[in-house]
Every structure is written in structure tokens, then in C-alpha cells.
Symmetry: C3
Subunit: 331 residues, 3 copies
């Protein structure tokens, strides 16, 4: 889509300096921008290079409020956020097919809402529901009974098991697996063999969640696994059965949660973090990359960062690392 | 399937207290149970809530042996194990299609045994064999020459390379990749470039193995990789070329084994464990989450837990952590 | 392919002792070799078992230069490298189909070069280009506009997003995802919700790269992600947006790179390594398994090994571990 700078400024709540009738088509970095592009500057030290770039317009922080420039500038308290919103506005709304590609296999009892599309070779099982304007990518396998909300984008080769429900505006990247069996067994003490514990629960993914490529989320064993509204999961993340992930939780790549864990709203987990079963991560807690949390452990403290295995408050852990380094230097 | 409590008690070796003609249809947690459901209690402290639930019947440990209750109770030495077995009995044996969906691509020289089914858009290559009652999910790619035993369930979008053999009753979750090339190269000292070492061996997965979603298992370089009978692998696990995994080994999510590792029978690896090439993990050894084992290392001791990187006996490692914490507190 | 020993010796630069007209068909380990097979010995101590095996010929180091044996022997300064090259020569060049399987869905505007093949149920989007002799496996989803060079092998169920370019002779194993959206959001300080930062950049994979099963590589946010010539990535690796991976870099399984990281030429990362955003790993640096590198950190030193989290020069880190062990032994 093309948009005038005035339209964009209005939409993202920025104050425009310069010609509001100019149009941009897309967003870019300062290095790669052309006259059709919008760029942003979050720190004053980068302002000059933005103004020297070929960008059609610049979103900048309030540090640029008094700027005299031929280049149109949009002033925002939160320039990066404004840029992200502008990017969404400009995203080309390419006309999309609706219905199902002739190579897709959609069960007669499945429901495709208005504007939904099932791409090449995707399968949609009996009784599944695909919401309005939702797009199911090539090769996806949507099991019988799965429910997917509206305005979702399911990239290719995703597998969604039965007993899975997705809310609206959910993005699922390629190769992700949603609703697979949890990892639960009971050892027979006589034979040493493992009997599979029933994995017959459900998975609920709430609105506005994004799920990375090849991430796996297991359904509950007997009850449900739940991913809260607005949570963002990176690639290759593993979420075990019966976990409850709160709203606006952020989980970076390759982090793994075993079963029955609670992550409260707004927590942030770095990459390759591992959390043991039945642990609870409090609201707004942050865990640094590769941190490990023991089973049943509770971490609390909004905005408090934890690190290490077992995870400790960051300051305390850094002290330990410093001591260790000092000891070894004595040799 | 519906089953009478007497049938279930007989099948799982429990002693029934109460009306054996009552029927249940499925299993549930205490919280979500309805009158059609069977629940279980492994610890006496949860017995009251089970009896106050709406469950049709309760499996409990011997602590409930003298219970007076209107609710039918099944007494077992191992109530969780009995519950898991009851769940398997009750699992609805839905009538399944056999043969191949018309969108599947099955090579003329492939063999589908009686009761086998190849679902939508799956491919089965030349000379591949699919055993009795085995189900190949939508979008799976089964390479030429692969052999799959009977009563296996291969979930959607699994890829099985050639030179892979699966035993009977193997479960493979969505997106798993079996038999891919191992990671082996030879560096040319003159150019610094890597020449691919031949990865032309095989993968054998024995009976009763379960493999998690998006897990990857490489075939042997020149010989074989082998996953022993009854082993259970969680999601996103990586098994390198030439590894030998023993019987009833348990490997939790995101654990990775590089090449030529031996895991002996009954070992248990937590999540995100990493093991270096040519290491050997002895029978019944346990390694805690995120533990790391160096190349060529041998860990021994049935029932002994190891933790940390490099992995040490748990007690010894905890001592070290405690010392470190004490040091840092002196500041 | 069958090859005479003289042909092989010439091709790999080895000196032949014995009958050069003898033929071998394939490579094997010493244990499994038959008379049709070529084996190799890199260390003198294994020479006897090689000579006692059933192998048709042996590639050995210069330690075998004066050997008197009925068995033909190829002497090389780098016997393992010579063996790998011989294996490549012997690889059966099975006649392959060209064009597209009738169940593939290739857009009318896509270009398939001579000798290219699109296998069962794969999709190739509008304007995509598939180079000469490149093979697209069953179930792959190649998005509109993606460009793939010549002599590539894309295994089944791989997803390649738009704005992805692959060079020549690239191998991509099953389930890998190339060019997915990076993990970037801007938090709205008023609501605590995350706005998606635009992920509209590209991914370039240069010649001779190999990418493991279920590995994920994100495209750049605004600019590009790049995987350098000859780099080798194992299974379940994660590469975040805007990373630049140098030439001949080796990255073992389950290692994860967050965004905007530079890995210079010839660096070697062990398994389960984690690297924070904007870090730089210098030319030829090695990082041991499970090592962790903090954001913005720079590690330098050709051939220097680092280990631990935060990663330190190996010797220094081992000293710390030793101190810790000693402390705990005093109890």
C-alpha cells in the first residue's frame, strides 16, 4: 500500500514536520532506504545518517522536535513503535485467493469462513473450522476438529493436532507443531518398561500470539495447555504439556519448558532457557539466556533479571562469577 | 470404547471395591472428570478430592484399601500405572481407513500390508514397506526402501529417509526427521574448506519407541544408528550419527547427542542435555537438565544422578554450587 | 558408480600400491566392508584390522608407505580427506527424473532450469527460479520469488520463504525452514503489548552450504541474513535475523544465534552454543559445546578455544572449574 505521510502520522500518533502529501510505500533500514521508504531513528546519534540517507521520510524521537530539514520527519515519543505500526499500515495487502486450492483436501464437514483460504496440498480434517480471512499455508495438516480463528496466518508445513484451538490474528511459522502428545510415561517397576500416560488434553492458543518456525507445543495430558494473549514464541521453542503461558510473555529461541509450568504475564525468557516441571515464573520476571530453573521452583520480582543454572538474581550470580574468576587468577 | 469397571480391574490387575457393572468411557483429571470418567490418586492426600469429584470411579493406591465409599474404587499397588493402562484400554478404536488416500503417492513397488493406511498427500517411495495397521499421516515423505513395522503411528509431515527401518508399535510425532545425513566433514588443510564425509549408513528404530515432534535422528555415517526397544524421545531432540540408544532409555526435550555415543539401557537424560562424541552413559544413569558430558567420557552408576557441565555426581556438584554461593556472600 | 583404483588414486591425489585395475563400488567401515568396498585408516594402529578386513582396498596415511601387502593400498597425506573424496566419486549417479511430478504445483511463471526436478506434492510459487540439476524434495514449499541455484538438493518438507536466495550445490535437509520472520517486537509501554517489528528483509545462502534437518534461519528484519560459502550447519540450529555467517564456518546441532551476530570465516561452534545479539566471533575462533556468549561481546583469536557461559578462553575456564572442585573437596 502507498500512504501519505499525513495519513501515517495520524495513524501512529506522530507529529509531522514537512510535506504531508508525500507518499512512501515501505519501510527500510537507513543503509538500504530509497525515496519510497520510511526509516526511523531511536537515538539522536543516528539522526544525521538518517537525514543523509535516501529515505523519503524519517520517524524520529522528540530529540528531533526542532529540526529544520527538507526531509519530512515524523516526531514520536516512541519512534521504533511508531515505525513498527507504520510498517504494518504499509504492508501490501495483496489480493488473496479465497476458498481452497484444488490440490488442498478439505473435509466436507470442515468450515471455511468468508475470506479464508487453504493453499496447495494442505489438509483440513472433519469438523475443523477455519476463521475469516485466515490463510492456511501449503502442506499444512489441520486435524479433525481443530479450530482456528480469524485473520490468522499459518505458514507452510505446519501440523495442528486435534483438540487445538487458535484465537484470532495468530501467526504460526513454518514447520511448527501444535497440540502434539506430551511426554509422559509411567515406569513399570517390574519390567523397567514405560507405559504411555494418556495425552488426551487440549491446547488453546489465545489471540495475537506468534509462534516461531519448528516450535513444538504439546497439548495437556488430561487438561489443557494454554498460550496467553499476545505471547511471542521464537523458533525451536518447546512447550510441554499442561503449561500455562501468560499474556504478553516473550520466549526466545530454543527455550524449553517441561510440563505443568506457569509463566505469568509479561515475563521474558531468553534463548535456550530450560525450566523444570511445575515451576512458576512470576509476572514480569526476566531470565537470561541459557538460564535453568529447577522443578517446583518459584521465581518472583517484576523486572528482576535472573541468570545461571540454577537461576539466581542476576547481581548475586555475577558476584559468584567474579569470585570464581578472582580465585583462578591467584595461580 | 466403553468398559465395565470389572473388565478394567481385571485387565490392569486392580482389586475392585463397589459396583463392577458400572461403565466408564474415558480418563480425566480430578478437576475435569464427569460421571463417564475414571480418575486416579497416587497419594493419599488427594483421595478426598477424588471422592468429591464427579468421576465415575477412582483408581487409588493401597492406602485406600479399607475405604467405605459409594464410589467404586480400584485398588492397585501402582495406581498411576494402572490408570495409564486403563486409559489405553478405553482409547476409542475408531474405525480407520485402509489403503491409500487418492491424493497419496505410493510407488507401485511399495508394499502396504493389510490394514495399513497412507493419508492425504503422503508419499511412499519405491520398495518401501508399510506394516499391518500402520498409519502414515498426511504429508509424510517415506523414502524409497524405508521399512516400517506394524501398528505404527506416523503423524503428519514426518520425513523418513531411505535406509531407515522402524520396528512395531513405533509412534513418530509430526515434523520428525528420521535417517538424515550425519554431520561429518573433513577439512582440507590447504583450502580450509570442508569435504563431506560419506553419510551412507542406516538407522534402525526398534519396537515400542516413541519419537517427539520435530526431533531429528541421523543415520550412521558408514554403519548404523540404533534406537533401542522402548526408548522414549521427547520433542526437538537431536541424535547424531552412529549413536546407540539402549532399551527403555528416556530422553527429554531438546537434548542433543553428537556422534558415536552409547546410552545404555534404562538411562534417563533430562531436557537440554548435551553429550559429546564417543561418550558412554552407563546403564540406569540419570543426567539432570542442561547437563553436559565431554567427548569420550564414561559415566557409570545405576540410579546415580549427574548434573552440571562437565557432568558430575549430583551431590558433588551441589557442594560446589553451595561453596560458590557462600564465597559470594562474604562480600 | 564403479571406479578402478587407479582412477580413484588419480582423482584424490593418492599413490597406489597394488593392482590399479581392481574396482570398488562404495565405501564402508572396516567392520562392515565387503570386497566391493574401499576403507580408510587414519592412524597406524588400525592398519592391521583394515588389512584383515574384507575390504577391496585401503586408503592409508604415509605410515603405510612401505607396506608389503596383497591388498591394494592408496597412500595419502590426508587419508580421511582422500576417502571422503573417493566416496563422492563413487556415489551412484542414479538417473533422475527432470521436470515436475504430476502432483507438484509449479506456478506458470516459475522457472525450472534444465535437469531440475520438483518431486511429489512440492509447490513452487510465482517467479521462483530452480537452477540446473537441482532437486526439490517431496512436500517442499518454495515461496513466490525464491531463487535456488544449480546442483542443490532440497530434501522433503523443507519450507523456503520468499526473499530467499540459495547459491549452487546447497544441501538442505528435511524440515528446515529458510527465510522465516525474525523475532523482533516493540513493546508498547502503555499497554505492555508487543507490536511486530517489520521482518521484511532477505536471506542469502551462498554456495556449498549444508543445512541440517529442522534447522531454522530467519531473514533479515530490514536488510539481509547471510550464510557464507561452504558453511556447515547441523540439525536444529537457529540463526536469527541479520546474522552474517562467514565462509567455512561450522555450527553443530542445536546451537542458537540471536540477531545481528557476525561469525567470521572458519569459526567452529560446538553443539548447544548460544550467542547473544550483536556479538562477533572472530576468524577461526572455536567455542565448546553449551558455551554462551553475551550480547555485544567480541571473541578473537584464530584457533583459540572458548568455553563456559560467559565464554572464556578454555585454559582460564578449566582453571576456574578446578578451583571450584578443590574447594568443595575440603569439606
Amino acid at each position: 500500500m502507498k500512504g501519505s505521510l499525513q495519513q501515517i502520522a495520524d495513524a501512529v500518533g506522530a507529529r509531522l514536520i514537512g510535506d504531508g502529501s508525500r507518499q512512501v510505500r515501505s519501510v527500510a533500514s537507513i543503509e538500504s532506504a530509497t525515496a519510497d521508504d520510511l526509516v526511523f531513528v531511536a537515538e539522536e546519534k543516528h539522526l544525521q545518517s538518517a537525514l543523509q540517507s535516501r529515505a523519503g521520510a524519517v520517524i524520529a524521537g522528540t530529540f528531533a522536535a526542532d529540526l529544520q530539514s527538507d526531509r519530512p520527519v515524523l516526531i514520536s515519543d516512541f519512534p521504533k513503535l511508531a515505525f513498527a505500526r507504520a510498517a504494518r499500515l504499509l504492508q501490501s495487502e495483496h489480493a488473496r485467493s479465497t476458498g481452497a486450492h484444488h490440490t488442498a483436501v478439505v473435509h466436507a464437514s470442515a468450515v471455511l469462513a468468508a475470506g479464508a483460504y487453504v493453499a496447495e496440498r494442505a489438509t483440513v480434517g472433519a469438523g475443523a473450522v477455519i476463521g475469516e480471512n485466515t490463510h492456511i499455508g501449503a502442506g499444512c495438516a489441520i486435524a479433525a476438529g481443530a479450530k482456528i480463528g480469524r485473520d490468522c496466518e499459518i505458514y507452510p508445513n505446519v501440523t495442528i493436532y486435534a483438540a487445538t484451538t487458535l484465537g484470532d490474528r495468530v501467526l504460526v511459522h513454518a514447520g511448527a507443531v501444535l497440540g502434539s502428545d506430551g511426554f509422559g510415561y509411567v515406569r513399570d517397576p517390574q519390567t523397567g518398561r514405560y507405559e504411555k500416560f494418556p495425552q488426551v488434553g487440549s491446547l488453546v492458543v489465545e489471540d495475537d500470539v506468534e509462534i516461531g518456525a519448528n516450535t513444538t507445543i504439546d497439548r495437556g495430558a488430561l487438561d489443557e495447555t494454554r498460550i496467553g494473549r499476545g505471547a511471542k514464541l521464537d523458533n525451536l521453542v518447546h512447550i510441554g504439556h499442561n503449561c500455562k503461558i501468560g499474556e504478553n510473555v516473550v520466549i526466545a529461541a530454543q527455550t524449553g519448558l517441561s510440563g505443568s509450568i506457569v509463566i505469568e504475564n509479561g515475563a521474558v525468557l531468553g534463548g535456550q532457557v530450560g525450566i523444570g516441571e511445575h515451576a512458576r515464573i512470576g509476572e514480569g520476571v526476566m531470565i537470561g539466556g541459557q538460564g535453568g530453573v529447577l522443578p517446583n521452583k518459584v521465581l518472583r520480582g517484576k523486572g528482576i533479571a535472573f541468570w545461571g543454572t540454577p537461576a539466581q538474581p542476576l547481581r548475586q550470580y555475577l558476584k559468584q562469577l567474579a569470585h570464581l574468576a578472582r580465585l583462578a587468577k591467584k595461580d
